[in-house]
Amino acid sequence: MSTTLIIGIDGSKAGERALAHGKRLSRLIGDCTLLLVYVIEWSPYKFQSAEENAMRHKRREEEIEIAKMRVIEPLLSALKSEGLDADCRVRHGDAAEILNAVALEHRAEQIVVARGSESGFASRVFGTVAIKLVSSASVPVTVVS
């Protein structure tokens, strides 16, 4: 049975580092699928204006399209050309929760993320995606520096 690794990507350098580590693991494992997960941060409890609500469906489609076009597709084609098995998911929600949910859904062996993509006051107070994952994930987590 093929091994699945979840790679958290967000279009940043940190995401690339996580993917680089994932590629190394994939080659070591052999029969392995890299499942790239791109999470668009979103909360069902965020306040929005009536106008934003009316346009929300359209915006969501656009956000997904942009993620696919700018981040996912180039990475997938690069991985395929390197002979690696890869797939992807784009979802809205809380990054740590989604990465864990996708890992459970696909019975993944582990989640690979990189730290350093978040900075500033908010990440100090509320913690980063990596910290949240390490403390709450149901599968092993590798945090790449």
Partner: protein, 530 residues
Amino acid sequence: MKRLSLLGLWALVSLAGTTAFALAQEAEPAPSGIDAVVNNIFGLSTGWFVSLIFAPIPGTSFPWIVLWLVAGATIFTIYFGFIQFRGFKHAIELVKGDYSDPNDAGEVSHFQALATALSGTVGLGNIAGVAVAIGIGGPGATFWMILAGLMGMASKFTECTLGVKYRNEYPDGSVSGGPMYYLTKGFEVRGKKGGQFLAVLFAIFCILGSLGGGNMFQANQAHAQLANIFGDFPGWITGVIFAGIVFAVIVGGIKSIARVTEKVVPFMGVLYVGAALIILIANYDMIGWAFGQIFAGAFTGLGVAGGFVGALIQGFKRAAFSNEAGVGSAAIAHSAVRTKEPVTEGFVSLLEPFIDTVVICTMTALVIIITGVLQVDPETGLYLVEGGAIVTEGGASGVELTSLAFGQSISWFPYVLALAVILFAFSTMLSWSYYGLKAWTFLVGEGKNKEITYKVIFCLFVIVGAAASLGPVIDFSDAAIFAMAVVNIAGLYVLMPIVKAELNSYWSRLKSGEIKKYKAAGSGTPAAAE
């Protein structure tokens, strides 16, 4: 249809003409002051409309519009088998996201639709409106207000279910919904005539409502607050500043202002409820007595002018103005939610009158009653009445009375309240500018220039509202909002079997377990590249 549109446009143009005239006066100072001129012209041009809406039932002093609202809410309550009580728990589960399909993550959630609709309703109605109701109708008005809130939940349920069911979805993915759409499409489905006529009439009244209660009343009370803090100054100055900010947001698209408002308004709402709770907890021994006053006043009037009928009229009027149940505005706000079951949004929306009226308005009322700002005759123990209203400290009414009541316990709170009133007024204006715009584009068609025309008219009315005195503004605001309810409730009677069919189908599937809770609510699912 065309003739009706013209009729509506005429009404608007005549009102806008008033504004233009008033503005022209600014160039040459009138001896009586700009505010007085605006006030006079405004009162004269809207008086007939106000008299029509508030005409008493022949042989009584009871306005027919109040009976219309009460009858509507009662009929929906009975027709849907007290849905506001049996569906309350399910409504909360829906808002929590227990039944939200993870595939829809990123779409408008039930919580967001409710919060957006609440930001349009929670505001001055809860602060100023309650004070007006109690000032005129006595504490007993609170009882009728709570009752109207509870029954209004069924009206809201009906209109919001239809709002989602018959919304328009455009090829670009945006949505437009509300009574204009369900009256047109729903009547067609039921094979009834007159849907288009009612839709056009509703749209006209909705535009008037957006300029009245959704705009002028807000600007007026915001100015009253500023005048309280900085001393008396001409209303048109506040009007011009407010109009400038509203213009920057709705025409200029300055999203940062709207974003700040979105963040601050819920915070202010929590702060207001928190302060009311602190006062109530500190005076917990008086809560029982206050409820006693509310119940006694509801049926006897406690010697207040108009007796229990006066209390009832005030209670129902202010509740409808505050929670907008049956008015149809909420159906516009709720229609953006993404759901496969329109009735779920009906359930969620019934929480709106509950939060707005049953919880927040009752808190304001209790604070006003408990803090003793209403003056009592020491000999008879009854409230002192003068000129048809209860005598208050310093003759305060409206926002000032609420401010005075909060200030009795928390001395600095009137400053916070002033800020809250201004922010609530602003957020309500933004919400109503959207409702009015949707009604406007329904009448005249979509298009950038058409939209800007409405938005400019909207901004001009901010100035009129701030400059006119409370009397004519509150009369026109009430009349315009209630006119919407006349058309909307008439249409809901025809369309309620459709809602009943939706409800029965959904409820049986929910009870049989066919509709299940999602375990991991909030987690997203495949959206792309699968």
